[in-house]
Amino acid sequence: MYDINEIRKDFPILNIQINGKPNTFLDTAASAQKPQCVIDTLVRVYSGTYANVHRGSYYLSEQITGLYEQAREIIKTFINAASSHEIIYTRNATEAFNLIAYSWGRNFLKTGDEVLISEAEHHANLIPWQILRDELGIKLKIFKIANDGSYIEDEYLKLLNEKTKLVSVTAMSNVLGTVFPIKKMVSQAHKVGALFAVDACQYAVHRQIDVQDWDCDFLAFSGHKTYGPSGVGVLYGKMSVLEQMLPYQVGGDMVDTVSFEHTTYALPPSRFEAGTPAIVDAIALGSALKYMMNIGWARLEAHEQDLIVYASQQLQEIAGLKIIGTAPDKGGVFSFDLNGIHAQDVAFILDKEGVSIRTGHHCAEPLVKRMGYNSLARASIGLYTSREDIDRFIQALYKVSSFF
């Protein structure tokens, strides 16, 4: 645990008022607010060290290339990769999955091969495989989860076989909060010869990742959810896998030699980083991850766990409120139904009370439908969320009830 009031001082936006009410931001699962150190990095680099990376042999370019590569080292530490060469900068996790599908899928999958995902996947980890299914004639298999959102090992193993070439699963559902036992799932996938990709967008915000311990082949997360800037994300790939993959996009900064007849591609990660990247955002992502690691995972998890228990208790006391996703091991995401009131009505009234939540299908439409809804309201917490935030949220929910 830590002093939440001290932590909150690091996030200037938490001080603003919304509709004359304190800013009760409960949509961290969609995008997190930024600590001052991240904002400072953006300003500092643009004001004092800005140039393009990996290009000129001059002072500024060398300085910023150093910072840009240092950030890659921080990301390496953040997920415990074996080498920073296994860290590819992308725009976001969506691009990371598209990259896997394009650069690995198109080269290694053939008709009859199977890709296995869960029912709880975000569209970014569903649509790229649907496209490959239609283009290459592969099969897309989807294993079921329990009605409470829990992982069911039998359902996974039932669909995992020698035809499975890739398993791609979220480590923590963005709708249900369910935590999947990735390490064990990876080892089971490897036994049948399948590679394993992890969608760590939500997990990376709340818990420590260790790609070497998990032994996963790919892992993706978005910078804007881990308290960093929008526009930068991360794809981790095992070097042995990345080396065999062809480029995703082609152009500048990703080649070894180019003539008009032929091009030799650079080694990973440059091979997958065509064109000028989100340089300063990547550097500031380094600041964000450092900020999280400085707080320390044990303290961060203890704080959030306390809030999860607190919020669950409070929510359960509201008449007619049903939490959607109650797996025993879940992260700080609360999708809920309140007496059948439309999620958008809930959100409109909460907004008037300064409370920000997400509504809709959360880019996981099949999952929301599978849970029996067209639209769900979702509150989610971050490291800066306080018990007072939860209290204001609960009070606002009572107000919503009073309207209907």
Binding site: A343, D345, F348, K352, G360, N374, S375, F403
Partner: protein
């Protein structure tokens, strides 16, 4: 109810709560849309809730007028539809084209529903109504 009357009614409320209660009430009193019209054909895309708008062309004194019916599965949006219908229904295509819906919502004190990020459908609804006016 015509729109002028609605504006006057909204002026009576001092706080958002009364305004929203009235909005929900307006939605509840919207004439029911037959279930058969709750179809993909009449759905307005780009909304977080489901919204349906159905145009009906009539002739009156040699003039072509468009009436609209609508519905939503969300209560506040349904209230917004009630307002949108009272703004646009029974107008000529030319009149529909000329109506400045932004000004009216500002007068109602509901400007927050105009923000494009809200995606609550007001923008999408207006666009769809203008589209119908241009083709019917």
């Amino acid at each position: 109810m015509d729109i002028q009357e609605l504006i006057e009614n909204f002026e009576l409320f001092d706080d958002w709560e009364d305004k929203y209660r009235y909005l929900i009430d307006l939605g509840e009193h919207l004439p029911q849309l037959p279930p058969a019209l709750h179809s993909e054909e009449w759905k307005v895309s780009g909304c977080q809730s489901q919204v349906w708008l159905v145009p009906d062309v009539i002739e009156e004194a040699g003039k072509k007028l468009i009436n609209f019916r609508g519905d939503s599965d969300a209560a506040i949006v349904k209230g917004i539809i009630a307002i949108v219908l009272s703004i646009f229904t029974h107008k000529t295509p030319q009149q529909i084209k000329e109506i400045e819906v932004e000004n009216i919502f500002a007068k109602l004190g509901l400007s927050e529903h105009l923000s494009p990020s809200r995606r609550n459908g007001l923008g999408a609804m207006t666009e769809k109504i203008r589209y119908y006016a241009s083709i019917l």
